[in-house]
Amino acid sequence: MKTDAQQQPVGELRPDAIAGPSSGSRRRLWGIATLVMLPILLGMAFFYAPEDANQGAAQRIFYIHVPSAWIGFLAFFVVFVASIAFLATGKRTWDDTAASAAEVGVIFTTGVLVTGPLWGRPVWGVYWTWDPRLTSFLMLWLIYLSYIVLRGYVPEPIRRAKFSAVLGIVGFLDVPIVYLSARWWRSEHPTQFVVEGGDLPGKMLVTLLVGIATFTFLFLYLLSVRRSVARLRAQRELEGVAR
């Protein structure tokens, strides 16, 4: 094919456009922040926050479950924004961001779906409640799994990016509708257990916020790692090395 001297990568395929500013140092920052916050969170979750009168010790999983949910949702919002940005600008780095956020989002959402039953079983005796939020997360999980599977079926990177972007946009716009339908469906099949958050006592709220902060750092760290892998892949493609 072409000799290296002749091939002049165009636009967003240029190495400097792919590598981006020193992502390595920021990644280390997120990583350290996570490592610092995680033991703090665990300590607060087990010792600082008061025990729930009704639910007992099992309620403490709330401090993992709820932050996971928030961050999972944040991840999919990133997919949405990155997808729109990709279609608008055509810059490949937006696709890398979207794909990375989707994968990281699936990790967090899986966490939600695992901690949910872990919480439900000791407290309410069942593994699954058709709680509208949990149900919505199940649907979200499925949508983003289909996003990842779709990507596996499209070998050509630019086409893959376009298809993913469309699915990313459709998937996210579906979220409120999924939530509404889960909620209305549940109100027709009411269950005794309520997973609503009411007013949280101060200490619980603080612990929760620490949890959200920790998971945000974890998200940023994982996203950064995954994105650098995506960029490396793109770089190797440029150099003609088989993936």
Partner: protein, 225 residues
Amino acid sequence: MSWIAPALSIAGKDLRLEMKTRDVVASVGLFVLLVVVMASFSFPTGGEGREGVAAGVLWMAFLFAALLGMGRSMAIEKEDACLEGLLVSPAPREAVFLGKLFANLGFTFLVELVILPVFIVLLQLHPGAGTWLVVGGAFLGTLGLVTIGTLFAAMAVNTRGREAILPLLVMPVSVPAMVAAVKVSEAGFSGGMADGTLSWLLLLVGYDALFLLVALVTFQFVTEE
């Protein structure tokens, strides 16, 4: 150039093609009919509250019908670069999308209108005054399915998995519309609007409108090489 005229030409072409080959309706129609008949064996006839379960089975059947039909319809366009023929014409991308949408809607709805009476008879349902609700709900739910499905079918045929991955793409995203459609059909089978049926209908309308808009805007990205 307007959107509607080319869209109707495309839909008309699909209809003519279908009348000649009976490709889609035959395979899809028969399959769905079999599903319905087999499902009705697992029902206690004349049981209480079977309207809800019936609605669920009905929409599973409609979902299969829509997925098979849309997959086939787009696969036909892929042969001999016919889809490229549409894209290279002066017709706007939106018109091409609408044309395939109308065609898919037509086929699926045709299959549904055949299946419905069979279903009602086999399961001894008495919709009575709720029949309009059943038909209306079928239309709205199908519209949502076919809107998303046509968009995704255009993607699917351009992947390694071809139209086989269409169900994988459509099903997660269409769950809320399916839930709403089932609820509306259930009410219809039970005789008329129940509490909350209006909300479900509005959800369907919202879903259809939102994704029709999204599909019209994003179709060009899906079809450009």
